[in-house]
């Protein structure tokens, strides 16, 4: 089992502490949702876990080895990362966009090897984009584009998948489909870490929820509670259902 862990990670940007002494451990097979108010440090934590940001103090370990000791290509072969609001700078086709997810495995020169075609087809199918395969990616709708980026992230079937707000801007149906896809990925043995703003979907699909407030871990548990939502977000919430129909109705702002 692969373990990704953060040990006393602190990050300071421009004199402001973004992460304070964050520690957590994540195992393959888990689907971890990171929730918290704007500016809580979710994106920073995800970048640090992805090995793209060197913490000011503390360290991130993959299988007890510091991330910094791995080469970028080695890390890329095992971990996929999708930032918040991913961009595409050239109007390339959806198929080529998804193929970019295989960059670490491609030969330095020459065309895309035929052997990668099935992986690309599968990723497109999982993200419901088969019909858009040859379309120019920059002409996709916002939701389609977000799914294309998700397909780009999963095409290499990474051991660790770190995604920053993957369902922001998706309609309810595709948001649910994407969450189901991420759960399925975890069930197949990958470690999935996603920052989310949809508390209901986080509670339903994630096997663990980390609540981050002001750069520190407020809670790291199986699920969310009304009390946690109040303390983290300053919002009164009403919980209902359980398991797959667990949900939160947000009522009104509350005093923290």
């Amino acid at each position: 089992m692969t373990i990704l862990s953060a040990e006393n990670v602190s990050v300071t940007k421009g004199g402001r502490a973004i992460l304070r002494d964050v520690s957590c451990q994540a195992h393959t097979g888990e689907f971890i949702a990171v929730v918290g108010p704007n500016g809580a440090g979710k994106s920073t934590l995800l970048s640090a876990l992805a090995g793209l940001l060197k913490p000011g103090s503390g360290r991130v370990l993959l299988d007890a080895k510091a991330l910094g000791a791995l080469s970028m290509a080695q890390l890329a072969a095992r971990r996929a990362y999708l930032p918040q609001n991913p961009r595409l700078e050239w109007p390339i086709s959806v198929e080529r966009l998804v193929a970019l997810g295989l960059t670490a495995r491609l030969p330095a020169v020459g065309e895309l090897p035929e052997s990668f075609a099935p992986a690309i087809s599968r990723a497109l199918e999982l993200c419901d984009l088969t019909a858009q395969r040859d379309q120019t990616a920059t002409t996709l709708s916002g939701g389609e584009f977000a799914r294309a980026m998700l397909a780009r992230a999963i095409v290499s079937t990474p051991q660790i998948l770190i995604v920053d707000e993957p369902i922001t801007g998706l309609d309810p149906r595709h948001a649910m489909a994407s969450m189901t896809l991420l759960s399925r990925f975890a069930a197949e043995g990958a470690l999935v870490i996603a920052s989310l703003h949809d508390l209901t979907l986080a509670a339903r699909h994630a096997s663990r929820v980390i609540v981050l407030v002001d750069g520190a871990v407020l809670s790291d548990a199986d699920s969310l509670t009304e009390e946690l939502i109040h303390r983290a977000f300053g919002v009164r919430a009403l919980a209902s259902g359980a398991g797959d129909s667990r949900g939160f109705t947000l009522l009104s702002p509350s005093e923290k």
Binding site: S71, L75, A80, L82, P86, W90, T103, L106
Partner: protein, 324 residues
């Protein structure tokens, strides 16, 4: 894709042949055979001693400008990027002007290219160091570096020891392939080969970079290594050719744009066709510049600028229309 490359190679071969035959003295196609059969004839001498080195140099310079333009546009993800815009050409020009001004060029023929490459390296390094945070910053840094090098060149002109030195610098700056011999070709070739090899290695990383820096890094792209390849490759190739033929603008800007839609916009696939298109463009420009009978001759750099500027305007208008 390969069909495009093949068409471009055929065009380049045709332009190459035309460049050997066209000029103040038009030669019949049979003159090309004379080079082998009657090497002592006048036609053969014109072809092998005057037009062949000039044509080979045009091919090399065009390919270098086309390739470096494609790499720089892919690297900066900015459709306006080219060696001249980022200050690389003017850096090379300043280096070469210093070599001319202080008489270093007379010491050894290799001094010019070396100073040109040093200037290009300094300018390119400075631009990328200043403009690290995004494409707007990069273009502004390029403008700042260009101003700096322009000031340096103006200083050299100001204090030129005599009008002839000023004229020599000035006419060299306009860019020309006239009166070039095999010496110049052999002088730049090693640097061009190494520089282009470095630039050709950037393809995969440029493709990944179309997702932005964070995603490219997450895909295993070492941005530092990529920057070194781009800076060193551009400085070597563009620096060497600029120091020999002067500043020739717009080929690096136009060539990638011509081929990009045909290859589906993938930055890596633009590289080879853009180098070929650059070679074709420069060969044709040089032929055209030769055919316009003026006295003194119309300089190649002036000609490409006259042709390229409207394209630049069109590009600016199109970008403005697309911007929110």
């Amino acid at each position: 894709m390969t069909r495009l490359n093949l068409s471009l190679v055929i065009l380049a071969v045709l332009a190459f042949a035309a460049s050997l035959l066209a000029g103040r003295v038009w030669l019949p196609p049979s003159a090309l055979l004379d080079v082998i059969h009657q090497p002592d004839s006048l036609a053969a001498t014109i072809v092998s001693d005057i037009r062949l080195p000039r044509t080979v140099l045009a091919l090399i310079v065009g390919a270098v400008l086309g390739l470096s333009g494609a790499v720089l546009q892919g690297f900066t993800r900015n459709p306006l990027a080219e060696p001249a815009l980022l200050g690389v050409s003017s850096g090379a020009a300043l280096g070469a002007v210093i070599a001319i001004y202080f008489g270093l060029a007379a010491l050894s023929p290799v001094t010019g290219p070396l100073m040109g490459m040093a200037g290009a390296l300094a300018a390119c390094g400075l631009t990328f160091a200043l403009g690290r945070n995004g494409t707007v910053a990069l273009v502004l840094a390029g403008a700042a570096v260009s101003s700096l090098t322009a000031a340096g060149i103006a200083l050299a002109l100001n204090f030129a020891p005599n009008p002839y030195a000023a004229y020599e610098i000035m006419s060299w700056l306009l860019g020309s392939l006239a009166d070039k011999s095999w010496t110049q070709v052999l002088l730049v070739l090693p640097f061009v080969i190494v520089g282009c090899a470095l630039l050709a290695m950037t393809g995969r990383a440029l493709d990944a970079l179309s997702l932005g820096e964070a995603q490219a890094q997450s895909l295993g792209v070492n941005l530092f290594r990529l920057t070194v390849l781009v800076v060193a490759g551009t400085a070597l190739s563009v620096g060497a050719v600029t120091s020999v033929v002067g500043a020739i603008g717009f080929i690096g800007l136009v060539a990638p744009h011509l081929v990009r839609p045909i290859v589906g916009y993938s930055p890596r696939r633009v590289l080879l066709p853009s180098a070929l298109a650059g070679a074709v463009l420069l060969l044709c420009s040089d032929i055209a510049a030769r055919l316009v009978h003026t006295n003194p001759e119309l300089r190649l750099g002036v000609f490409t600028s006259l042709l390229g500027t409207p394209f630049f305007f069109w590009l600016v208008v199109r970008i403005r229309r697309r911007a929110p």
